[in-house]
Symmetry: C2
Subunit: 232 residues, 2 copies
Amino acid sequence: MIIASSSSVYGSGYLEYLLPVLKKHFKNVKTLVFIPYARPSGISYDDYTALVTKAFLNININIKVKGIHEFTNPAEAILNAEGLFTGGGNTFELVNQLYKNAVLVPLKEAINKGVPYLGTSAGSNICGVNMMNTNDMPIVYPPSFVTLNLIPFNINAHYIEPVLNSKHMGETRETRIKEFHVFHTIPVLGLKEGSWLEVINNTIVLKGNHSAKLFQKNKEVTVIENETEICL
Amino acid sequence: MIIASSSSVYGSGYLEYLLPVLKKHFKNVKTLVFIPYARPSGISYDDYTALVTKAFLNININIKVKGIHEFTNPAEAILNAEGLFTGGGNTFELVNQLYKNAVLVPLKEAINKGVPYLGTSAGSNICGVNMMNTNDMPIVYPPSFVTLNLIPFNINAHYIEPVLNSKHMGETRETRIKEFHVFHTIPVLGLKEGSWLEVINNTIVLKGNHSAKLFQKNKEVTVIENETEICL
């Protein structure tokens, strides 16, 4: 699995910063099944799938992209996929559709048997134990917040440090995660834009140019340096 | 009802900017029932209630504050209250506890019969049709997102304009609200810190020094000037 904080970084095209990683990750993949359920800015499944197709061409990755909505049996499509990619957008709507289309279990099964998976933003949040550390607005009510539980912690994507001297009184990201730990013991990884996790079997390594922050209940926050294995 | 974006503004104490308004709003109130369920930073109900008691003394409001958790029958406490205040914190946990303690209906009933209500931040979000425009992290799973529906639109508290020249790739507040309108027709009012709504019977007036932004499905965003009645 490649679990990326964001699909793009400032000043660079969609997925562009991940090009060398994706070339390697999807080297044996000819057709990729794309999950467009998160619908960033509310775009349609077709438009989102077309955007990904174009992006892959732009970064010279020669893979045919097929949206999961193009299959009559989405669960079967996932189980038969050579490669899988869940794009970013709204995590509530993504999880809602994963439940409605009954593809959460097949997705977990496919990834567990070794199908290469890419998640960005919302598509990364769902790799955690649950989606309770998303930054997204709850624009729909999913049947549950429980997600794939493929890594032993939750992801906070687009992690950002508090803005110095801000006059805004809304909670910082760190405060929000600490509030989560009043109710739960699940660790949370704050993954900055431009960072990703490379997960091979049970080994999880932080990649990209940034450190990450690991929040654990009743513990000091830990800074994880890049190129480090994350052991809990 | 006083529906405030935030409990405080930058550089001023808790509730301080609202002092003249609260003096008038609660002028006949000797004992106020406080709802501390939103637990900002995870503080206890007792600590939160003590904080509000102290804040009222600091701003020379002589009202006895009693936390709803101090009553054996919270629904009855609300129905018998002279005044009501729901504080800010996490909207998911607030709504979760409103359902668990079965106080959502009594709360609506009390406000409808004229008991003066103050809501700040999460306590304001719950006055809308549902809580789907909160900025909070979904740290608990409430039984529903449906709230008091006492005004014909939703509140986005702590509303903030996009940061110019930001390198952060996460969605702006405006993008998130527009995503909401892909799925719903409920209007959303972006209420800036330092703004509040004064609701008397069916008249809703924007107060404070700032304008607000009204988002409606398939319409241009409307700027509402302060001291203006909001008519939908």
